[in-house]
């Protein structure tokens, strides 16, 4: 069932640019769909739905760090461009 959802979401992601919406909302939608797909894999295939807090901590601290790394570099782009 999860596989069916992943395939449907893959199709939906590729259909986004056929919609009559601007590029930025379309990109937001594409990456939103990708995030949903990743969540499905993490939750059901990687069993995060039933894991203990320690595994959550190990898994998500680097995600926060990676996002933080990108976010703190955004001012550099804003000032240069």
């Amino acid at each position: 069932m999860i596989w069916v959802w992943l395939v449907l979401l893959l199709g939906a992601g590729m259909m986004v640019f056929t919609l009559p919406i601007a590029r930025m909302p379309a990109l937001a939608l594409i990456f939103g769909i990708a995030a949903v797909k990743a969540t499905l894999v993490l939750r059901d295939y990687m069993h995060l739905r039933s894991e203990r807090m320690l595994v959550y901590a190990i898994a998500f601290v680097p995600v926060i760090l990676a996002l933080g790394l990108a976010l703190v570099l955004i001012p550099d782009i804003v000032y240069r461009h």
Binding site: I30, L54, A70
Partner: protein, 201 residues
Amino acid sequence: MSVGIETASHKAYTEGETTGIPMGKIGIWWFLASEVMVFGGLIGAYVLFRIANGGWADQAEHVNWRLGAINTLVLVTSSLTMILALSAGRSGRHQRAANFLLATVLLGLTFLGIKGVEYSREIAEGFTPASGMFWSFYFLMTGLHGIHVIGGIVFNATLYIAAVRGTLWSEHHEDRLEFAGLYWHFVDVVWIFLFPLLYLA
């Protein structure tokens, strides 16, 4: 005496005394956490460079999104066969589990084959890592991901051989199937983000 020591050391190895989580599982999650930083840093750099340099739309339009989509389907399906292998192994259907493991290996090889076709077409058209920033990132990120796919294929093929020989199904070794699955699904998750970043955006 020696049996008692082995049992105790095995228990300490397989299940943390304070966490209650198998040490192997903690180990694979630590490894995946380091991989998040590797791919996260790379993806972050790609997004920031792309925003800062006008989007590289003229370069990005040359990637073959149809082959990328087929590869996404292949990898997502390989995640399904991997979870089916784990499910079959845990319910004692060992031959079925071995078959699903073999399917996972073959799907991984299919992914690499399609990626090879893509690379050869792109290089034939003159797009190499030196063709521009987009292509540098494209070859770096898909190449690094491809290396991880190769690693997963080797891991899964090793388990397939063990499954066929019957050595995978002892109490001490069955967890390896779950650990291999965690790694393989992570490789799938990375591609789920690389596909829109490189082929659709």
